[in-house]
Symmetry: C2
């Protein structure tokens, strides 16, 4: 199973092109300014300056987090994806300059890390638990592969091969090497990419070593912790034994039952496991991936595709613990969940993987970015009371409006690289089937039996459930077109081939299969009935009991104070209430706004009392919901995804 | 306004005598064992050993918190109250021994504090912000006054006068003295007690100095923080500028608008302010007390009488922020609220003060102790999901069952001293009125115009709303008997005097006044209609919106998994549902159990899905509620005070 080359997927979608343009025209340039400490009112990033210091081009002290280099890598990766889809000589010149700078900071032996070059020289590989050394390496490897794929330029790729070779000389099961791995997984999936780019199996073996070794006894992190002179990097962790589950190092990965610990680390690791399961045909690794996937998506995931129930350790907690107001649901974690879903699709096409990918993409991911491309959510709550964000210390991590570039700026560049590489997530293909996972307008080029086939998809999502595919093989060719039937389908889909209803198509794993001899000019029209539906959560999700959420197609909706007045907790609705969907022109363009008749508690004035005898009193009101991804754009106000069910 | 001498109030109440006996027979002896590090499976207290080391009787290192001495003081105070009501030569011998030990640890100049004697000699008064030096002094002063009142023995009282004189030589507005105050208020109210015991106005002036000085510019804590060599005591606070509101030192006390910061510190301070307002006739201080009282009771108090909405700083947060599951509601804070309420009653009889006192007493305070007298709640939640207590870091402070003696053991000894001095809170009297604030069976002796009057009260509370008062003056005497009409009254009270209905009694500030020439044998029968009622919270309390709580008389009820099965969030009830109250024999004695017809959500099996289209489905169930103070006695299980309203 393959995913088409990014240069061969051109996004032409009405909905998504705007985001891609925003990333290209605003986010990437803005982040470049941020990396260069030129954004007023934002904490300086120090990231480019660190490289200049490490390269000997400037005097000064290291600044920022221990993993600050990764922001440069993620920016470079996003720039590469953007260049692949949209050549831009000026951006390419800037990127080439960054690559010159990065490689100038590389050591003779291949090592690259500005923190351990500038701030703690001589302490390489002494604190894998905390210091993100391999994590940063992984991001730079991803950037190198992306830039080579986009431009054909090998400078960074070659440099990163030297770095990977160096890492391979340091880590491994052999006598004299470190039997260790990084506190923050990332190198593992990066090495698989490097292997695919270069064909060098050493990188695949090294990735596999990191995955296989993790969580084995004796535990590497505990050994490291016990080493004389070792000290935890983070102030808050000084003297504390590493909490192994936080790093997913509490058990060998194949024995892990549940998604635990830091959510981003978890899904980055699971993505690498899925890669390795596929590359190595490793059934036990595949089984572990499937188990961990179920753990997340059946028991530990918000309806928005957010993951991570607590800000303590930015982590998973336990089954069905999904508080809406103290939630973490980091943007990066949903991006990592998309990475994981995409690799599961490559391992085995199952519409359920694409459903989650779509959910995370249309809600958390695009919701994390403001329309100006300069403000971002790090945490993506499902319920917000702005006063509590300021005054309740347990909710300080939740922000009611998007913030400028963060001190720890992992999310915005991660978002940029995902959006610019969106073309990667639409299709997969094997030698006889082309799978359409996402309905995003695009043109792509594939081949079956050596015959090139161009496919053009148009889509009205997320506002309407229709898509058209135009198939143009260079010569008639037989293959299977597999169209995902989304989990949100509200009725029987209608499929028309060249104007005729297709009635007998069979369905495999949630994909309707059209197998035929395709000819130039063949057209498939797909109608996916979409309705606004009140959803309920599994009964064990205490936070959502007695509540409903409004979903339409891939979009989760939310209720905002700006539309419904303050005190959203006073609203209720019957799950029988018919939602009224209307396309409306708004400051964010033409969107589907949903209204429904519900109630607002309407108690008699309370006076001075804090508690009194209950009297049911409510009045009918029209509730207004907007897509979750647009919340928080009208100043500070309450927001809720789940509202009380009066059913 | 006075409160009768504790030796003159003998509790004879059916409900309360059991608690008092438990404290006398189990809690005080058990805590004595704990103070001596003889409780298996509990962290050692070190408290007595610290005194032995400080007195030169033993070699060793200081152990426990910086304020560990206060546990000995609170134990001694509780023992004193117990001796006042119930002489016990063996306990008195033990207490005398403790006093010998404590005074042996006192310095020549009067100073007493084992931490600064053993661990940091030479650092006295160098960290008022964190080190509780005056707080500990205050507790020992309270113990000294209580012991002198109970036994007439002056040894500790004299020692504490010397200590107070020493403190007075160190602190004050005069040139060369420290213009400081303690991070944890307590000395202020203790000095008022010492003034009342000794008549020495120096102590009143010193208390007033601490209150007047607090929060003034330049801020003492900030000055202390800026002093060369100063370091915060607590690991988590190292290097951090003190957060002044945490200590209620953000503004002069008379200018404070809202109850903020650490809840225990706050209410201890407000109690002292109310004392000083009364002793000094200080109208601006009284106005501040009234304002802060309203801030708590109208906007920042749980229905159980718990205060402190967050475990971060064990603190108040902001108006109407009353989360039920992440709540702090420390036992000590409700005890302090009772101190504050009692002093407000002394300042001005208002039934509303007694309502809050009663609410905190019958719910948080007695609920914090297990029937074995050896397990305690520190945090008193209104909603518990045991798995979350273990697995969600934001709820680690919430325990689903009572715990043995804590490392920081402030609550159990505080509880012991409150319960043993319960007689203090029932009555107040001025020269013409005897106010009955609580309906707790007791016998007391007062005097009007020089005529001694014995009053015997019998009460069926909290199970029934009836009380009888027998008034026995030595000679006929005119005075006013003021009987509180509780806020929970569910109808017109009935008052009978010597068998005849009293129809024309007037009401003042929530007290019905019976003024007459009282004769021996006069009997008042009071019937206070009590009903089980569904309560609602102020609409702005988002956490309780769409929910109701069940209250009957002074008791708040709760729903437990043991009675209602797991997943309490699936329960709902109409506020129209008629609660069925029945007295039943239970493992905790004969109590009123309340049942009501409600519903349990009854969704079709969910299978693997985490979210699906909502279908209202519920089945009728009988809900069972028990008094909140009895929750958590049947192993770990869910508990909820607020349940969904289906109204």
């Amino acid at each position: 199973m393959q995913t088409p080359d990014l240069r061969r997927v051109k996004i032409t979608d009405g909905f998504w092109s705007a985001f891609i343009r925003l990333v290209r025209e605003t986010v990437i340039p803005y982040q470049w300014e941020a990396l260069n400490d030129r954004v007023p009112d934002a904490e300086p990033s120090h990231a480019i300056r660190n490289f200049r210091i490490a390269a000997g081009l400037e005097e000064g002290e290291y600044g920022g987090m221990v993993f600050q280099d990764s922001d440069v890598a993620k920016w470079l990766e996003a720039a590469a994806y953007s260049l692949a889809a949209h050549p831009d000589p000026e951006l390419e010149r800037t990127a080439d300059g960054v690559i010159d700078l990065v490689t100038a900071a590389q050591w003779e032996d291949g090592y690259l890390n500005t923190y351990f070059t500038v701030k703690e020289p001589g302490r390489r590989w002494t604190n894998l638990t905390d210091c993100h050394e391999l994590y940063v390496a992984g991001h730079m490897i991803e950037a190198a592969v992306a830039y080579w794929e986009a431009t054909g330029k090998r400078k960074l790729l070659d440099a990163m091969c030297r770095f990977a070779d160096h890492i391979d000389s340091v880590f491994g099961p052999e006598e004299g090497k470190l039997r260790g791995y990084d506190g923050h997984q990332e190198i593992e999936l990066a090495l698989v990419k490097l292997y695919r780019a270069t064909g060098n199996e050493r990188y695949l073996r090294l990735s596999r070593f990191f995955i296989d070794e993790r969580g084995r006894e004796p535990n590497f992190f505990l050994q490291e912790f016990g080493r004389p002179g070792y000290e935890r990097h983070w102030e808050s962790e000084k003297g504390k034994k590493p909490h192994l589950a936080y790093f997913q190092a509490h058990a060998p990965v194949r024995e892990q039952e549940d998604a635990v610990g830091h959510a981003v680390r978890a899904v980055y690791m699971y993505a690498a496991m899925a890669d390795l399961a596929r590359e190595c045909g490793d059934a036990s690794l595949k089984a572990a991936c499937e188990r961990l996937w179920r753990s997340i998506t059946r028991r530990r995931m918000y309806i928005t595709g957010g993951i991570g129930s607590t800000h303590h350790g930015e982590a998973f907690t336990f089954d069905y613990d999904l508080p809406n107001d103290t939630v973490y649901a980091e943007t990066c974690a949903s991006i990592g969940l998309i990475f994981f879903a995409h690799r599961m699709l490559l391992l085995e096409p199952q519409a359920a993987y694409a459903d989650v990918m779509e959910r995370a993409l249309y809600n958390v991911v695009i919701g994390s970015m403001a329309a100006d491309g300069r403000h971002f959510f790090y945490v993506n709550p499902l319920e917000v009371w702005p006063e509590a964000c300021r005054k309740s210390p347990g909710k300080h991590h939740v922000k009611p409006v998007r913030q400028p570039w963060f001190g720890c700026a992992c999310c915005p560049p991660n978002l940029a690289r995902l959006i610019t590489s969106l073309g990667r997530y639409i299709w997969t293909a094997d030698d006889r089937t082309l799978y359409a996972h996402l309905y995003i307008g695009n043109e792509t080029a594939v081949a079956f039996g050596g015959t090139p086939v161009r496919v053009r998809m148009e889509s009205a999502l997320p506002w309407e459930g229709t898509a058209c595919l135009a198939v143009s093989p260079e010569a008639p060719v037989r293959f299977r077109l597999a169209l995902r039937l989304p989990g949100w389908l509200a009725g029987k889909p209608r499929i028309r081939l060249n104007g005729e209803d297709v009635r007998d198509a069979r369905t495999e794993h949630g994909y309707v299969i059209i197998e035929r001899q395709w000819r130039d000019g063949d057209a498939v029209e797909l109608t996916l009935p979409m309705e606004a539906a009140w959803m309920e959560a599994h009964p064990a999700v205490r936070a959502d009991r007695g509540k409903v959420a409004l979903v339409r197609g891939p979009l989760v909706y939310c209720f905002e104070e700006a539309d419904n007045g303050p005190l959203l907790a006073a609203l209720s609705v019957s799950p029988e209430a018919e939602p009224d969907v209307r396309m409306e022109d708004t400051p964010w363009g033409r969107i589907a706004v949903i209204r429904a008749e519900g109630w607002r508690d309407d108690p008699e004035p309370f006076g001075d009392a804090l508690y009194r005898k209950a009297k049911a009193a409510k009045r009918p009101v029209t509730l207004t919901a907007i897509p979750y991804f647009l919340w928080g754009n009208r100043g500070e106000g309450e927001m809720a995804v789940w509202i009380r069910s009066a059913g």
